[in-house]
C-alpha cells in the first residue's frame, strides 16, 4: 500500500515546504472565441522578497561581482542567457525553455510600493492597487469579475486563501489530503446549518464540489486507479484516532510515530514540488477546469546564509515550473506563467552573508506561446549612481504593466476594464505588449 500512496504523500510534503496553489476560472469564458477560450494563466508569488540578482545574475555587468561578494553567482556557473544575464544554475528547466524562446526575464521590475515591508508589498502585489490599503480584493479575482458574466469557477488550492484571489467571486480551494464522501449525511446536514452563515455556507459548498475535481486531477496524474481508492479507505478514521484523547491531564503521551527517514531532503522537495506543478496542470487540462491559477512559494527572505537557501528555493521553483510545463502537455502553448515577488533585495551583500529588503527584482515569464525576445524592460545597470537610493536595483518596469500586457494580449481582457477595474490608477504603468 506504500507505493500507491507515495504520490499523495509527496504532495503533502509539498504543502509542508511552504508551497500552496490557488486557482480560479472555470467556464468563465465559455462564450469566448475558440482559441482565446483555451488560454491559461498561472501566477507564481515568491513570498519573502526574492533576490533577482541571484535568479538572473547579471554576470556581464561590470559591477556585479564586487557588489555581491560572497553571495555572487560565479560567471562560469550561471546558465547563459545573453552577454549580460544568466540564470541561477538551479533553474535548469527554465533555462531549457529560455533556449527555445519559451522563457524570458524582466530583471528590473517592481510593484509601485517602496516601503520595503514584506506585508505591505505583498498586499500591493496581490491587490494590484497603486498603494497599500487602497483595495481589499485581489486582481486575479477582479479579472474574473470583468471577464466572466456567469458561472465563474474560482478555486484555491492550499489551506488558506491568498489575497490575490479574494474578492466578489467565491473561490473554491483544495490542497493535498484525503477527500470527504459527498454523499454522506454529515455534509448535507451541515449545508443546512450553514444556510444562514454567509461565510461558511458558500465556502463549504465549494469545498465539496472541488473534491470531485481533485479526484479527477489526481487520477489523471496516476493511471492506476487503486491509488485513489486506497486512500479513500481511510475514510473510516477510527483506527487513526484510537487513543487520541487523554481524559486525565498529565497522562503520558503515547509513543510517537517514528519520523520519516530524511534521506535527501532537497531531492524529495524537488520531486514534491514537481508533482504539485503536475497536479495543478491536471486540474487545468480538465474540461471546465480552472484557467487562472496562483501558486505561492514561501521562504525567500534571505538576510543570512543566502547562497544555500536560494539554491534550495530556486530548485523548488524550477521543479514546480517543470511539473506545470510537462503536465500541461499540448496546453503549454496556451499557457503563460509569471513568477514574481514583492520586492528585490539590496544590491550589496550585507554583513551576514545575505541581503536586506530592496526594491527591483526579476520576474520570470514563461509559456509555449511566447514570442522570442530579449530581456523585458531596460537594465539600469549596477553602477553606484544607477542604484535606487544607493542600495537597490532601480526598477525600470512596473509589475502592473507586465500583468496588464499579459491579461490583454494573452487572455483577451478588455483594455478599459483593465484600467478601471483590474488595475485602477495604473495609467503610469504602461502595458507591456507583444509578449505573445
Amino acid at each position: 500500500m506504500n507505493t500507491p500512496l507515495s504520490r499523495r504523500s509527496l504532495l503533502q510534503q509539498a504543502a509542508g515546504l511552504g508551497v500552496t496553489v490557488s486557482f480560479m476560472g472555470g467556464s468563465a469564458f465559455a462564450a469566448a472565441d475558440g482559441a482565446m477560450a483555451k488560454r491559461k494563466l498561472v501566477v507564481v508569488i515568491c513570498r519573502g522578497g526574492m533576490d533577482g540578482l541571484t535568479v538572473s545574475p547579471p554576470v556581464g555587468d561590470p559591477d556585479y561581482t564586487a557588489l555581491r561578494g560572497a553571495v555572487a553567482v560565479a560567471p562560469d556557473q550561471a546558465l547563459k542567457l545573453d552577454a549580460t544575464f544568466g540564470l541561477h544554475p538551479a533553474l535548469e528547466s527554465v533555462h531549457a525553455l529560455a533556449l527555445k524562446g519559451q522563457a524570458r526575464i524582466a530583471p528590473a521590475i517592481a510593484s509601485p510600493d517602496r516601503a520595503r515591508s514584506h506585508f505591505e508589498a505583498q498586499d500591493v502585489l496581490e491587490t494590484g492597487a497603486a498603494q497599500v490599503y487602497g483595495v481589499g480584493t485581489g486582481w486575479l479575482n477582479r479579472t474574473l469579475e470583468v471577464m466572466g458574466p456567469s458561472r465563474v469557477e474560482a478555486l484555491s488550492v492550499g489551506a488558506t486563501a491568498p489575497l490575490i484571489l479574494r474578492g466578489k467571486v467565491q473561490a473554491a480551494s483544495w490542497s493535498p489530503g484525503k477527500g470527504v464522501d459527498e454523499t454522506a449525511r454529515l455534509p448535507t446536514l451541515l449545508q443546512d446549518l450553514y444556510k444562514s452563515d454567509p461565510m461558511m455556507g458558500p465556502a463549504f459548498a465549494r469545498g465539496l464540489e472541488t473534491e470531485a475535481m481533485a479526484q479527477a486531477a489526481m487520477t489523471g496524474l496516476d493511471p492506476a486507479p487503486t491509488a485513489v481508492s486506497a486512500d479513500t479507505t481511510s475514510m473510516a478514521p477510527k483506527s487513526m484516532w484510537q487513543n487520541a484523547v487523554n481524559t486525565q491531564p498529565g497522562m503520558a503521551p503515547a509513543a510517537m510515530t517514528p519520523a520519516p527517514q530524511a534521506i535527501d531532503t532537497q531531492r524529495q522537495g524537488r520531486e514534491a514540488a514537481r508533482k504539485l506543478g503536475a497536479t495543478l496542470a491536471g486540474f487545468m487540462v480538465q474540461e471546465g477546469g480552472p484557467r487562472i491559477a496562483a501558486i505561492s512559494l514561501d521562504g525567500w527572505d534571505t538576510h543570512a546564509g543566502q547562497v544555500g537557501q536560494l539554491n534550495t528555493r530556486l530548485s523548488y521553483l524550477d521543479a514546480v515550473l517543470d511539473g506545470l510545463n510537462t503536465g500541461l502537455g499540448a496546453e503549454w502553448r496556451n499557457t503563460v506563467v509569471v513568477a514574481a515577488t514583492e520586492f528585490g533585495r539590496t544590491a550589496r551583500v550585507n554583513g551576514t552573508g545575505g541581503t536586506d529588503h530592496g526594491t527591483g527584482s526579476t520576474a520570470l515569464v514563461l509559456g509555449g506561446g511566447l514570442k522570442k525576445g530579449g530581456v523585458i524592460g531596460d537594465w539600469p545597470t549596477l553602477k553606484q549612481d544607477a542604484l535606487f537610493e544607493n542600495r537597490d536595483v532601480r526598477p525600470t518596469l512596473d509589475m502592473r504593466g507586465l500583468f496588464k500586457g499579459v491579461l490583454a494580449d494573452h487572455m483577451g481582457v478588455d483594455r478599459k476594464a483593465l484600467e478601471t477595474t483590474v488595475f485602477p490608477d495604473s495609467a503610469d504603468a504602461k502595458a507591456v505588449t507583444g509578449l505573445v
Partner: protein, 461 residues
C-alpha cells in the same frame, strides 16, 4: 451599549475570551462572567507549560553539539551517520514536546483568558521554527521572554523579546556588526572578511512589534536603529554566559544615532534600550497594539470605540498590559453576542479537546491536523506571525479538513457523552435552536458530536 444577559456573557467569556468551554466552565462563570476573567490577570504573568524544563542556553548548547557531530560525520565521509540522525530526532522530539506541553496547558487550564492573552503576545513577538536552530528554542523563548511579562509593562516585554537569543537568531541580529566598530576595524586590518549591518530585527521591531508600518519612519530610521542595535548578540561557548544574551561592545557601531528625528547619544547597549523605551510609549504603538488586540479578541473589523478605549488605557498607563487586559474585559463592545471571529486551526483544535474535558494524548494527534489546516506547529510563515482573520482560515478546503478532523474526533470521543448535554456545556447560551435541533435529531452520538463541532456557533467565537 448594553450588556447581554449573564448566561450569554458566561458563554462569551469561555469561548471568545477563553479557549472554548470545558465541561462546567460556563455554568461556573454565570454569577460573575467578567469577574472570572479579571481574576485571571496577575502580576506574575502567564502559567508555564509542563515540558522538559530545558532553558534556551541548554537547547543551544545541545544544538551546537549536534552541529559538531554533523560536521565530524561529514569529515569522515558519512553524509548521515547514526549519531547525526539520533541528534536530529532528539531536536525534533524536543520541539514537538514543547508544542504538546503548550497545547496541554491550553486544553487543561482553568485560566483560559490568561492563556489566550499570552498566545496573543507570543504571536505578536513571533519566533518561528522555520530555521532549524530556532525550532530548538521557540518553546523556551515563549517561556522565558513572553510568559513572565504578559501582565507587566509592554516595554519589558519588548526588551525581553529583543534581547532573547531566539529572536536574535530568528531575525539575524546576533551577527550584525557596525561597519565602524572595533571588530570591523580589526578584521579589516588583518585582511579578514569584514562583517556588517543586518537590519532585519530593527525593521521588524518598528513595523511589527511597535509602531506599525504606517507610522512614517523611513529607510534611514531603520538603518540608524539597526546601527544602535549592533552588539546585541549571544555568548559563544568560550564566553562567560554561553548561549545567553550578550552585548558585544566591540561590534557596536560607535557614535550618536538619530531615529525618527530624535538623537540618541547613549553609548553601548543603553542606546538601543533608549530607542525601545521611546518606541514602547509612542502613540503609534498604542494605536497599533490596540487595533490588533481588538481585532484578535472581538472582530476582524474592530469597533472604533473599542480601539479608542484600549488606546487610551495604553497611553494613560504608559503601556501597562494588566491595565490593558482590564480595559478589554470591561469594554461593553467586547461582549457583542454576535460571534464575529472564526477560530484559527489551533483555537479550533484546543477548543475541541476542552469541550470533552480532555487533552491531546500525543503530538501525532494534533500536529497533522494543524499542518493540514495551514498552521504548522511553531512555524508561522513570517515574523508577522499567524493571521487571525476569518478570510484566511475559512477556505473551502479547510472546512472539509475540519469536518474530517471532527468526524475522527467524534469517532473516539462521542460514545461516552450525552449529545444534548455536550452541546449545552460547550456553547451555553450561544447554542442556537437549529443546532440544538440538529444535534438532538442526529442518528448517532458520533454524528451529533461532529455536527456540534462543525456548527457555525462552535467554529466561531
Amino acid at each position: 451599549m448594553s450588556l447581554p444577559s449573564n448566561d450569554m456573557m458566561a458563554a462569551i467569556a469561555a469561548t471568545r475570551f477563553g479557549l472554548g468551554a470545558r465541561p462546567g466552565e460556563i455554568a461556573a462563570a454565570q454569577s460573575d462572567p467578567r469577574g472570572v476573567l479579571l481574576a485571571q490577570i496577575r502580576p506574575e504573568g502567564a502559567d508555564q507549560p509542563q515540558g522538559d524544563g530545558e532553558s534556551t542556553a541548554q537547547r543551544l548548547a545541545e544544538f551546537r553539539d549536534y552541529q559538531m557531530t554533523k560536521r565530524e560525520a561529514k569529515a569522515d565521509g558519512q553524509a548521515k551517520s547514526d549519531p547525526v540522525k539520533d541528534a536530529q530526532k532528539r531536536l525534533r522530539d524536543q520541539t514537538e514536546g514543547d508544542f504538546l506541553a503548550r497545547a496541554r496547558l491550553g486544553a487543561n487550564t482553568e485560566a483560559a483568558f490568561r492563556e489566550r492573552w499570552t498566545l496573543f503576545w507570543s504571536n505578536h513577538f513571533t519566533v518561528s521554527a522555520t530555521k532549524q536552530i530556532t525550532a530548538a528554542v521557540v518553546g523556551p523563548f515563549e517561556q522565558e521572554a513572553i510568559r513572565p511579562h504578559v501582565f507587566g509593562r509592554f516595554e519589558d516585554l519588548l526588551v525581553a523579546s529583543s534581547t532573547h537569543p531566539a529572536m536574535l537568531l530568528y531575525l539575524d541580529q546576533a551577527q550584525s556588526m557596525g561597519p565602524g566598530s572595533k571588530a570591523a576595524a580589526y578584521q579589516r586590518k588583518n585582511g579578514k572578511p569584514v562583517g556588517g549591518l543586518n537590519e532585519n530585527l530593527a525593521r521588524e521591531i518598528l513595523e511589527l512589534h511597535t509602531l506599525g508600518v504606517d507610522a512614517g519612519y523611513s529607510q534611514a530610521d531603520v538603518t540608524e536603529f539597526a546601527r544602535a542595535l549592533t552588539g546585541y548578540s549571544i555568548g559563544r561557548p568560550q564566553d562567560q554566559n554561553p548561549h545567553q544574551y550578550l552585548f558585544r561592545d566591540n561590534t557596536h557601531e560607535p557614535g550618536a544615532r538619530t531615529v525618527m528625528g530624535k538623537a540618541y547619544p547613549q553609548a553601548g547597549q543603553a542606546q538601543a534600550r533608549a530607542v525601545m523605551a521611546d518606541l514602547a510609549v509612542s502613540p503609534h504603538t498604542a494605536r497599533h497594539v490596540a487595533t490588533k488586540l481588538a481585532a484578535h479578541f472581538v472582530n476582524d473589523a474592530p469597533p472604533p470605540a473599542l480601539v479608542a478605549r484600549l488606546e487610551k488605557s495604553y497611553l494613560d498607563s504608559g503601556g501597562r498590559l494588566d491595565d490593558l487586559a482590564r480595559a478589554l474585559v470591561t469594554a461593553p463592545e467586547a461582549w457583542d453576542p454576535a460571534p464575529a471571529k472564526f477560530k484559527t486551526p489551533y483555537e479550533f483544535a484546543i477548543s475541541t479537546w476542552r469541550a470533552v474535558g480532555a487533552e491531546p494524548s500525543a503530538i501525532g494527534k494534533l500536529a497533522p491536523v494543524l499542518t493540514g489546516l495551514g498552521q504548522k506547529p511553531f512555524s508561522a510563515p513570517s515574523p508577522k506571525g499567524w493571521d487571525d482573520q476569518a478570510q484566511t482560515w475559512c477556505a473551502p478546503d479547510a472546512l472539509i479538513k475540519r469536518l474530517r478532523f471532527s468526524e475522527g474526533f467524534a469517532a473516539v470521543a462521542a460514545d461516552r457523552l450525552d449529545p444534548n448535554a455536550f452541546a449545552q456545556s460547550a456553547l451555553g447560551a450561544r447554542l442556537t435552536p437549529p443546532v440544538a435541533k440538529a444535534v438532538a435529531r442526529a442518528e448517532t452520538r458520533r454524528e451529533a458530536m461532529a455536527l456540534l463541532l462543525m456548527s457555525p456557533e462552535f467554529q466561531r467565537r
